[in-house]
């Protein structure tokens, strides 16, 4: 068991944003967190990568208490790709990727040949080696996201937390990013907005609603028309797609089906 969360609770003020959540991720699994906007997906992840501190509950990463670890140690184990990736300063693509090496560095270390090799390798993995000297400020949203994925590869942690990593991206980039991550073969816990994406890439899914886990299971078990209507209030049809073998969801406009 890589990650074990028990009874995690967090509130921004009065109301619990995350209410008594327990979930686990096994080695090598790709686990999805889905749910409507404001259901607490991001908040759960922020509590894990320590942008927020939980009110109560325990989080064990590889059997160790994550919340008591030094920031550096948790950064060596957990890589994070968030939603906001704007850097309002002048950095080259390779400089942004090299920042992924930071947790490996001691106080006076400077980047050595090994770090440069890893940075180049990470960029090559995403087909971005020709862009290494480009200015990050001037990249498109999809390119920026690929640079951030390269950074998390350079970080060399084998557990990734993804917070809707493909939000706002064109569909080709969305697929590309998930394909890249899948190919890494690391353990993943990802908040996903798009249900079809979740069906395509996840081994298991947790469904959040109003800060609580209401459903869990494989995409086939979870993504049924009844469940989706109960959680999202949207009508749909679900069928196994002949080519992917995964469940595929078609949303139904008013007047069709009933």
């Amino acid at each position: 068991m890589r990650l074990q969360i028990e009874n995690l609770t967090f509130s921004y003020g009065e109301k619990e944003a995350v209410d008594d959540i327990s979930l686990h991720v096994k080695k090598g699994e790709f686990v999805g967190l889905i749910g409507p906007n404001g259901s607490g997906k991001s908040t759960v992840l922020k509590n894990l990568y320590r942008a927020l501190a939980p009110d109560s509950g325990t989080v064990l990463l590889d059997g160790e208490n994550l919340l008591a670890m030094s920031h550096k140690k948790s950064a060596l184990k957990l890589g994070v790709v968030g939603q906001e990736n704007d850097v309002p300063f002048d950095f080259l693509v390779e400089e942004i990727v090299a920042m992924g090496r930071s947790p490996h560095k001691k106080l006076f270390d400077i980047d050595n040949a090994h770090d440069k090799y890893i940075v180049r390798h990470a960029l090559e993995h995403l087909g971005m080696e020709k862009m290494s000297k480009r200015n990050y400020l001037h990249l498109s949203g999809g390119e920026k996201q690929r640079v951030i994925i390269a950074r998390v590869i350079a970080q060399e942690s084998d557990f990734l937390l993804l917070d809707e990593p493909t939000n706002h991206l064109d569909i080709s980039y969305q697929m590309q990013i998930f394909d890249f991550i899948k190919r890494l073969g690391v353990t993943v816990l990802s908040a996903i907005h798009d249900l079809n994406m979740a069906a395509l890439y996840c081994d298991r899914i947790y469904v959040l609603k109003e800060g609580r886990i209401v459903l869990q299971g494989t995409p086939d078990e979870v993504l049924t028309p009844e469940n989706i209507f109960n959680v999202y209030g949207a009508r749909c049809d679900a069928a196994t797609h002949p080519m992917t073998g995964k469940v595929s969801i078609t949303f139904l406009p008013a007047g069709i089906g009933v």
Binding site: H71, S74, N85, F89, E95, F108, K133, Q155
Partner: protein, 357 residues
């Protein structure tokens, strides 16, 4: 051919740090020599060099004594401490700018624009008037200025933080408001207690000046600059990561809270001790980091030392202009830096709003 050579050194993608630093050090030394020579009474650079060399132990005899006593008094008594102070003040202000920009994640931050200088000036004058920190002896002024700068940074930072992010409009507006309030306080104090404040009049605190520099003014700002630079250079990775945002920095192993507290401390220390000796010299912390980033990019390992050198050189030359333009009248340096830096600020503001829709 020559442009190719220049491009190879000042290449943004792969700057040659050794050469750039060497060039800047040569420029700094040249600025020192010319800066000492230039003024209402001009002393030729070679004469300045001779006078300076003659003070080095062991060389007194080797240099023929070919200058007037007056020249020596001007060079050693008046100009040398002034130019050295200009270097230290410029470097400190530029590095303070870099620090504050990392703290608020925006390149529009500067101790003057965010009201920190005004806050420091106000508490410094208050301290003088009431002798609040007089038991600390000669450092009382610097310490009261430090308290003012720290209080303003924390105040402006806290009110412009909206849901964990710095809101740039809030930041700039609160900076303006705070600096107006603090300038008002300073003016009242300096006008109501002219004797207690001696040399330091309202113009000094609000426009900044290096006139009246003494060797005694130099020790504390220099010591603070060296210590703060060391601390910042050790943490250069943390500063870089902070520019990615609090959450990304935390995810990459930075203890964000601790680092931010340290930056507040470093910025207020440098701003405080600098303002205590020079008054408010605005926009240096805005202009210098901006041009530094154009030269070498955003990596703090490069930005910090280059900003310090450029800041020192800039202030020395602006101070030369301050005593030359209306000679024998002295212009406050802060007025000249404002005339230079103000337009750049407006241009950056314009570009900033364009980039963020």
């Amino acid at each position: 051919m020559r442009t190719g050579f220049v491009k190879k050194i000042f290449n943004r993608a792969n700057p040659n740090m050794g050469v750039i630093i060497a060039v800047l050090i040569v420029l700094a030394v040249a600025s020192l020599l010319f800066g000492i020579g230039l003024g209402p009474v001009t002393v030729a650079p070679e004469k300045v060099m001779k006078i300076l060399l003659s003070r080095i132990p062991g060389l007194e005899e080797a240099i023929p004594h070919t200058w007037e006593q007056l020249d020596q008094n001007i060079v050693l008594g008046l100009r040398l401490p002034r130019v050295c102070l200009g270097m230290v003040v410029g470097a400190s202000l530029a590095v303070t700018g870099v620090t504050m920009q990392a703290l608020v994640r925006n390149h529009l931050a500067d101790p003057f624009i965010l009201g920190v200088s005004s806050g420091a000036a106000a508490t410094a004058t208050l301290g003088m008037l009431f002798g609040a920190f007089s038991f600390l002896g000669e450092y009382s002024l610097s310490i009261s200025a430090f308290i003012g700068s720290a209080a303003t940074i924390i105040f402006v930072y806290t009110i412009s933080r909206v849901r964990g992010r710095i809101n740039i409009t809030q930041l700039l507006l609160s900076g303006v408001a705070v600096s107006m309030i603090m300038d008002g306080v300073t003016r009242i104090i300096t006008l109501s207690a002219p004797n207690a404040l001696g040399l330091h009049n309202a113009t000094f605190w609000m426009s900044g000046s290096l006139a009246g520099a003494k060797w005694g003014y130099l020790t504390l700002p220099l010591a603070v600059l060296v210590i703060c630079m060391t601390v910042l250079m050790i943490n250069y990775r943390g500063l870089n990561l902070l520019l990615l945002g609090d959450e990304s920095a935390g995810a990459l192993g930075v203890n964000v809270r601790r680092l931010q507290k340290m930056l507040v401390l470093v910025a207020s220390l440098m701003a405080g001790v600098t303002i205590a000796v020079s008054g408010t010299i605005g926009f240096v912390g805005l202009m210098v980091p901006h041009f530094t980033r154009l030269l070498v990019g955003g990596d703090h390992r490069k930005v910090l030392p280059i900003s310090a050198l450029l800041g020192g050189i800039l202030v020395v030359w602006v101070d030369v202009a301050a005593r030359m333009v209306l000679a024998p009248e002295e212009l406050p340096v802060g007025i000249l830096t404002a005339i230079l830096g103000g337009p750049l600020f407006i241009w950056l503001l314009k570009r900033n709003t364009k980039e963020h829709r």
